[in-house]
């Protein structure tokens, strides 16, 4: 599965979001996620992709930002693209 597909599963199963809303340009704010939701979402991404997201300086607004971050951290931390 691609990063995008795995992320979609996470969104639908863990956050119970409608699959149709998940477009690369969609913002996390548009799903009604508050600050705590976002923190928990990042935690679930860490678990699913076996990556460690830095504690600070995480700037992600859109789904595409999330995909890019996962791919970048996976490459850095696992030495290869997971997607």
């Amino acid at each position: 599965m691609t990063t995008s597909e795995r992320l979609e599963v996470l969104f639908v199963e863990k956050l119970q979001l409608n699959r149709d809303l998940l477009k690369p340009e969609s913002t996390l704010d548009s799903f009604g996620l508050d600050s705590l939701d976002k923190i928990e979402f990042l935690f679930q991404i860490e678990d699913e992709f076996k990556i460690k997201i830095p504690e600070r300086d995480v700037k992600i607004d859109t789904i595409q930002d999330v995909i890019n971050m996962i791919d970048r951290l996976s490459a850095e931390q696992h030495g290869k693209e997971q997607a």
């Binding site: 863990k14 956050l15 119970q16 705590l36 939701d37 923190i39 928990e40 990042l42 935690f43 860490e46 460690k52």
Partner: protein, 408 residues
């Protein structure tokens, strides 16, 4: 001083998730105690518990990731009670409405999950919502947030008397004019690996009855061996009586007395004097003498110490009249909800008034000679005249809480 009405009831319990189902099951002596199905139970010496059949999706349409199970059960109970009461508050009224919740150990399941992640799974990070799930005041706050109640939002932690105390303190605030409306009750869920181990190690949990696991809690019985851990929540709507009457609310009962005392003696062993004094204080506040109580819902944990001491305390307060009062321990069926116990049992006591019936002490076939009151053994009683009820809760640390309600 104002009078205080009970105008709404909500419950999630091992014996039913509505007040009607709960009372009907208790009257039929149907136990909510059984063998646990959790995988962790395989490693326990004692594997019985009283679990609530509580499916989160039945109550909440969205994910509730910031909640411990205690918070979910408390909010689900509050939602029932709120709906039952028919309350509608404007912004000004919401500023004079409070939340008063008792819990012994707060978000204990979430403590367990976090500990497992750190110590067993060597995770670098735990669930980021761990703090908001664990904090003991979370349940009260979730209720306050859900209804926009902006008066006092308080959490009481006095072990097994936590939610008698929370209801008693809410009663006092309405009585003295600090609040007009309160959602008051308690919640607890200690059915997780670490919590269960702690209780098991303390040696206060009942052994499983070899013939019938559901009959393992045997209050006042010679062969009692301790209590069965239960989970659940109960929340009641309390309201200034005049306000309740004015809006035509259904009034289940009036709370008329509350007594709380400390034994100041021992961290687990109860005292006759401390318990008796709490009962007397509640009766004095209610203006009732020893002939004034028609039913006592006992703390009745089925530990060796409690049942003998509580029996002696009731006799110390009521003298010979003690033998004529039906006293039952419904923990024989719903287990011990610890911080949620007081609220659940007070709610049951209020239902005893409304049904003119008293639920039994189940599994009492072999009475302890030192426990010689009328414990309503095994079979509930109907067709009685139940005008006043007393609900006893006595906690570790020597914290006693007694509530009295009466028919209006």
């Amino acid at each position: 001083m104002r009078r205080v009405a009970v105008t709404g009831l909500g419950v999630i319990s091992p014996c039913g998730n509505t007040p009607e189902a709960l009372f009907s099951n208790l009257m039929a002596a149907k136990s909510g105690i059984r063998r646990m199905t959790h995988p962790f139970a395989e490693k326990l010496g004692i594997r019985i518990a009283a679990e609530a059949e509580f499916r989160i999706s039945d109550y909440f349409p969205t994910r509730m990731s910031a909640f411990d199970r205690t918070g979910l059960m408390a909010l689900a109970s509050a939602m029932q009670a709120w709906k039952d009461s028919g309350l509608e508050l404007d912004d000004t009224e919401k500023e004079r409405a409070g939340v008063f919740i008792g819990t012994g150990m707060g978000g204990s399941q979430s403590v367990d999950e976090s500990s497992r992640a750190v110590y067993a799974e060597n995770k670098e990070r735990v669930n980021p919502l761990t703090v908001v799930k664990i904090m003991s005041n979370a349940s009260a706050s979730h209720i306050s947030i859900n209804y926009g109640l902006k008066g006092p939002c308080l959490t009481y932690c006095t072990a097994c008397s936590s939610s008698s105390v929370s209801i008693g303190e809410a009663f006092r605030q309405i009585k003295t004019g600090y609040c007009d409306v309160a959602l008051a009750g308690g919640t607890e869920c200690l059915i997780s690996n670490g919590s269960f181990k702690a209780w098991e190690s303390l040696g206060v949990l009942a052994f499983e009855d070899p013939e019938d696991a559901s009959a393992s809690s045997k209050p006042f019985s010679k062969d009692r061996s301790g209590f069965v851990l239960g989970e659940g929540a109960a929340v009641l709507v309390l309201e200034d009586m005049e306000r309740a009457k004015k809006r035509g609310a259904r009034i289940y009962a009036e709370i008329s007395g509350y007594g709380t005392t400390a034994d100041a003696s021992h961290i687990t062993a109860p005292t006759i004097e401390g318990q008796a004094r709490a009962m007397k204080l509640a009766m004095e506040e209610a203006g009732l003498g020893i002939d004034g109580i028609d039913y006592i819902n006992a703390h009745g944990t089925a530990t060796a110490a409690n049942d003998v001491v509580e029996t002696a305390a009731i006799k110390k307060v009521f003298g010979d009249r003690a033998y004529k009062i039906p006293v039952s321990s419904t923990k024989s069926m719903h287990g011990h909800l610890i911080g949620g116990a007081g609220a659940l049992e007070f709610l049951i006591s209020v239902l005893a008034i409304n049904n003119n019936a008293v639920p039994p002490t189940a599994n009492l076939k072999n009475p302890d000679p030192e426990c010689d009151l009328d414990y309503v053994p095994n079979v509930g009683r109907t067709g009685l005249e139940i005008n006043t009820v007393m609900s006893n809760s006595f906690g570790f640390g020597g914290t006693n809480g007694v509530l009295i309600a009466q028919k209006i």
